[in-house]
């Protein structure tokens, strides 16, 4: 270092700073808004807010949640919705991608539809699913005309039901294309040649699927599933529209408590938010872990 001219040393120091300067505006936005929002939420959920005189943190909000007999069912329901939606969407997306690869014609049509779906807001998808799958929806009407049922109640209860099938259907409809597009993108990066080489090495169609295609797709599949899992865990509008009245999924419960006229519910609402945040941060770390392995490979 001492041999370097002062100018050069300064230049190097400046170069070291360059990425941070480039990142600065982004950090100025993300750190206070995202990290700050979470931190403020965390403090508030512990009833710690010296500005308004709350200076002894406690776990009141969390223990109130545990006592609330809707919380645990709600947590379970949310987890069930998120897991089921993610697993079904992932598997179907995988199947769809394998199917699309075997198409000779129609690829561009399906590609267009997948992309179109990506641009459609969840809310619209939810409306469509209700029109189709409710007990008086299009399918129930078809079933009646086909003679399978005589009245709406005989049609399976899919919407507004504690089993949350309607919510899951919306998520599957919206997330399947998302995962499928990510998988297709990952396949474009040389997947087909690996399969060719495997076949010349004596692997049958199934063995290629089992030992080459799936392992190749796995990182992309897991990473996109994490995104979907986090999203389905924390999205508000779909369960708000299609859910049963009890138990409400966590985001709905959080919103309800947040907007409760009784201000005492707010720390509880924020505590639920924090639980959602912690769980989704775990998904972030899992995602990072998966993609890191992918990059290393």
């Amino acid at each position: 270092m001492p041999r370097l001219g002062r100018l050069r040393a300064r230049k190097i120091r400046f170069q070291r700073l360059t990425p941070w300067l480039l990142l600065l505006p982004a950090l100025i936005v993300i750190v206070p808004l995202f990290a700050g929002g979470l931190a403020a939420g965390l403090l508030r959920s512990f009833n710690y807010m010296p500005v308004i005189g709350l200076d002894s943190p406690n776990l009141a909000a969390y223990s109130a949640l545990l006592r609330d007999d809707e919380f645990l069912p709600s947590l379970l329901l949310t987890t069930y919705i998120a897991l089921t939606s993610t697993v079904i969407a992932s598997l179907l997306a995988l199947g769809a991608v394998l199917m699309i690869r075997r198409l000779n014609a129609g690829r561009s049509l399906i590609n267009f539809l997948l992309q179109l779906n990506l641009t459609i807001p969840h809310l619209v998808g939810a409306v469509g699913i209700v029109y189709l799958f409710s007990q008086s929806g299009s399918f129930a009407r078809l079933a009646l005309h086909a003679g399978f049922i005589n009245e709406p109640q005989q049609f399976p209860a899919l919407i507004y039901d504690p089993a949350a099938i309607g919510i899951i259907l919306v998520y599957v409809w919206k997330e399947l294309p998302f995962i499928a597009l990510i998988l297709l993108a990952s396949l474009q990066q040389g997947g087909e040649e690996f399969e060719a080489v495997a076949r010349t090495l004596g692997a049958s169609r199934w063995q290629v699927l089992r030992f080459v295609t799936l392992p190749n797709l796995l990182p992309a599949l897991l990473a996109s599933s994490m995104i979907v899992l986090a999203f389905t865990f924390g999205a508000y509008e779909i369960p708000a529209l299609l859910g049963a009245y009890y138990p409400a999924p966590l985001p709905v419960l959080a919103y309800r408590k947040f907007t409760d006229v009784d201000l005492a519910s707010r720390p509880e609402a924020i505590a639920i938010s924090m639980i959602i945040a912690v769980l989704s941060l775990i998904f972030v770390l899992l995602y990072a872990h998966i993609t890191r392995r992918q990059i290393e490979n």
């Binding site: 007990q135 039901d161 504690p162 009245y245 009890y246 907007t259 409760d260 006229v261």
Partner: protein
């Protein structure tokens, strides 16, 4: 400011010294004294002064926005008149639930915003009004300055009390509503016309009835009807909350509702989330009976295609609960004068009549029809309701009062614990 009013109301019960001490301690020690001056800023103003102050301004009116008919009435008719006559711009803010507006004001109050709030007027009643009033978030005490206040019958209990909470000059009645049921002539020959008959009907027609889960507004009212039925009438219940009485009646009520459960839609495993959902289920033959706190909505819904044309409104001969909805100015509205002008316009015979037209909205006027101009008296007298809507006379005959909100809260909580799960 609520404190002040309560004190003033009870002053006559205290001896002068006590009263004096109390009064000074309140006026000196509570910050409400600061707003006390401003709350009355219009009380002594002449109407002309208010109108002059409001000219060229705007009003942000927060109200439930899910009905195109109501939206049209408010934006087109009311907004049009307001602009034309007073040069005030009406900004209708559609919300999903009135509680959103209450929260907004609450948040502003928390943040110390006392004079530049974003809400100028809220369509409100019941629980939300209680929150606003008890939270010192309502602007009160200006009604005397409003000419059309003369059309309002404050002697009437159902006007002067909003779900048992005294209005105390903090809101202005806008509309009257009364619970009414509806059925489809094509599907049901004769609907049950007492609560007892309804309960019987439900068991005989399994799967064809349900009600939205309280705290949905309409679902909660339905449960109250059962509660009245279990109590053998509403008379004993029109008092301050009485735990012993509540427990007695509630036990019977839960019994009835739980017995009904297996015969409900989806065997009572779940309930609709909202009255909207029930309406849609009714329209699509999933259930055979629906209800509404706005009896005229049957007509509107037939016209806009939400209900089958063969839908008919009906009431229970043992009574249906009625209430009044109001408009309220939040304490921190920056456009109070304009909001008062709007409230005055809303309570005019002209606006109330327009609102009562079946093709516009068809809802019942909140003003005393005996006090209005002869012209509008005639008009109201010759007003034809939508043929499917229960007649006003029929409604009036069976009208039941609402309970105080403390009762309602207890019923809703009790339902959640004893029936829902």
């Amino acid at each position: 400011m609520l404190n002040v009013q309560l004190c003033q109301l009870r002053l006559n019960k205290l001896n002068p010294l006590q009263a004096l001490i109390l009064f000074f301690s309140i006026t000196l020690l509570t910050p409400t004294t600061v707003t006390a001056a401003s709350e009355n800023e219009f009380a002594d103003d002449s109407w002309d002064e208010i109108v002059a102050a409001a000219k060229g301004g705007e009003v942000n009116w927060f109200m439930w926005g899910g009905s195109d008919d109501i939206n049209r009435y408010v934006s087109d008719f009311v907004g049009g008149l307001l602009k034309k006559r007073y040069d005030i711009t009406l900004n209708r803010v559609g919300i999903n639930d009135t509680v959103e507006a209450v929260n907004l004001v609450l948040g502003e109050k928390e943040a110390g915003n006392t004079d530049s709030g974003s809400v100028d007027l809220i369509w409100i009643n019941g629980e939300n009004f209680r929150s606003m009033k008890q939270g010192d978030m309502a602007f009160c005490g200006y009604l005397d300055a409003m000419p059309n206040n003369a059309l309002i019958d404050w002697e009437n209990d159902s006007i002067a009390n909003d779900f048992g909470v005294p209005v105390d000059g903090c809101e202005v009645p806008w509309s009257k509503a009364q619970f009414a049921f509806a059925y489809d002539e094509k599907r049901t020959d004769t609907p049950p016309t007492t609560i007892a008959a309804l309960i019987d009907w439900v068991t005989k027609n399994p799967g064809r009835f349900t009600y939205p889960a309280p705290p949905d507004f309409s679902g909660s009212v339905f449960v109250r009807h059962v509660f009245y039925h279990a109590a053998g009438g509403v008379k004993n219940l029109l008092v301050d909350f009485d735990q012993a009485l509540f427990d007695e009646v509630a036990a019977k009520t839960w019994q009835i509702l739980n017995d009904m459960k297996p015969a409900l839609w989806r065997a009572g495993r779940t309930y609709p989330q909202s009255i909207t959902q029930l309406d849609q289920m009714f329209a699509n033959s999933e259930v055979d009976i629906t209800f509404s706190y706005d009896p005229s909505s049957v007509g509107l819904k037939i016209e806009n295609g939400s209900y089958p044309a063969t839908t008919k409104g009906f009431v229970m001969t043992d009574g249906t609960i009625g209430n009044t909805s109001y408009t309220l100015i939040p304490f921190n509205s920056p456009n109070k004068a304009a909001a008062i002008v709007l409230q005055n316009l809303l309570t005019s015979d002209e606006a109330q009549y327009q609102k009562a037209l079946p093709e516009v909205w068809g809802t019942m006027p909140a003003i005393d029809l005996s006090r209005i101009s002869d012209e509008y008296k005639d008009k109201f007298n010759t007003l034809e309701r939508h043929p499917s809507v229960v007649s006003e006379a029929e409604l009036a005959e069976v009208a039941l009062p609402e309970l105080q909100s403390s009762w309602i809260t207890a019923i809703e909580e009790g339902w959640k614990e004893n029936v829902a799960r």
